[in-house]
Amino acid sequence: MSVIKKILNMDQRIIYLGLFIALAFPILSPVIVPVVIQDYSTQAFNFAKAIPDGSYVLIEGGNAAATHPQCGPGLTANIYHLLTKNCKLVFFSITAEPAYWTQVEIDDAIAKLPASVAKEKGVNWVNLGYLSGGESGVAALAADIRSVVSKDHFGTPIGDLPMMKDINSAKDFAAVFWWGGSEGSIPYGIRQLVGPYNLPMSGSCTTNEVPNYSPYVSSGQLKGLFGGIRGSAEYELLLGVPGPALAQAMATNIGGLYFLGLVLLGNILYLVQRMRGEK
């Protein structure tokens, strides 16, 4: 068997091992390279920046264990950003696992905030926790929060939370941030909040879902979009609060280069093989 054939028929486990090393190396020896900020991230950041101080903002937290490392830092930056603007935040999750991770991201943001920023539970933010029913649940929440949620994530009755005194429907919010992770749920928000209530909305999703939602940004139905680790890193950079996403974005770049190298190598060797008349 020729060398070219051996390389082309290489055991895929060797490729996985190479990928593992390529991804682990930048984490063990971090190298920060300049990040070029994408238009979608700038639009989403500017949207958050333009929200009037003190407004009520609705946030769907959809990051699960798998997507928390990539989209979690972005949501943490978002919470940090909005709380420094004295916005009142209401969180909910439409799947079970993200209900826990959303609280982790809230805690991360609060730990980073300066002492001068108000961040009291029930006064500056409320986590309604898990909301059952998927898109129907979102529609019901938008129409009447108290009809679907009677207690928050910690079991406190909604009526006992000072921040919830004046709000009960989507009409009471100034903006929505939909951190959908890999739930594929951004269209729920567009259909049930943007359309019927004319609420401006920005989104975030994993990298693989960005092509699916970019038409919504082009049409103006989404005001911006943060995609995966890169989106989170860009938010941290735009906000001027460096976090874990920036270091991880570098590892993604190395992984991408490794992948690109393999694609190029495979194609070149395949062409050489064909030119030599080998099968």
Binding site: I27, P69, Q70, I190, S219
Partner: protein, 226 residues
């Protein structure tokens, strides 16, 4: 007192290594982690849903909102699926759920996914981006007109549409590969944290010993047939 976050990271490191061993073939360690993950997730989902029902349905009935008895009864009807003769009972809540879901989605779909997208494409022809957007949308849509024969000027429209579709598939493929990297990176960041890394290396060595020992001695029953 032991730091629970640290403990979670150490256990997570072991489970992740166990799950990644599937790359060298299905094995007892990967099976253990697979079942562990499925069990924990099922348990957690059950607990969260139970809590939701208790807070927002049973709690409301106890508080005097008796109209919440109806959804509770409908939910219980779903369990009729467990007995084949009673399956028909469970079809009513399923039909209601599907009907409500479809109705809600369709009500807004026309505006958001159809009208909104068409409006988003009605752009002034004053920049390269806009021209690409308009040409791409029209030709890619035209590619799916199967009632027209693919010849004459339409052939070029069709081929342009195909080109745009291939570019879109390429972008999706690249994004998916990147997403998979990000999943691994997320785990590696936790596994290689200075206070967890030593345990990660230890688990790697332990898993390697178990797999090599099992394969060479066949003392682990799972390996006997391999």
């Amino acid at each position: 007192m032991m730091d629970m976050v640290w403990l979670g990271l150490v256990v997570g490191s072991f489970v992740s290594i166990g799950a990644y061993t599937v790359l060298i073939g299905d094995n007892p360690v990967s099976k253990v982690t697979e079942h562990l993950y499925t069990g924990i997730l099922a348990g957690y989902t059950l607990a969260i849903n139970w809590d939701f029902i208790m807070k927002n349905a049973v709690g409301k009935v106890q508080g005097g909102q008796f109209d919440f008895i109806l959804p509770i009864i409908l939910s219980l009807m779903l369990f009729a699926r467990l007995k084949p003769e009673w399956i028909w009972i469970s079809r009513y809540p399923v039909a209601l759920t599907v009907g409500v879901g479809m109705g809600l989605a369709m009500r807004a779909s026309v505006l958001s996914d159809f009208v909104g997208q068409i409006q988003g494409t009605l752009l002034p022809i004053n920049s390269i981006n806009n021209i690409v957007m308009i040409v791409g949308t029209i030709t890619a849509t035209a590619y799916f007109l199967f009632t027209r024969e693919n010849k004459g000027p339409y052939k070029y429209v069709n081929q342009t549409g195909l080109l745009f579709l291939l570019v879109a598939f390429g972008v999706t493929y690249g994004s998916t590969a990147s997403f998979r990297f990000e999943l691994v990176i997320g785990r590696l960041v936790d596994m290689l944290r200075p206070d967890v890394a030593l345990y990660t290396y230890g688990f790697l060595a332990l898993v390697a010993i178990i797999l090599i020992y099992g394969y060479t001695t066949k003392k682990i029953p799972w390996y006997k047939s391999r």
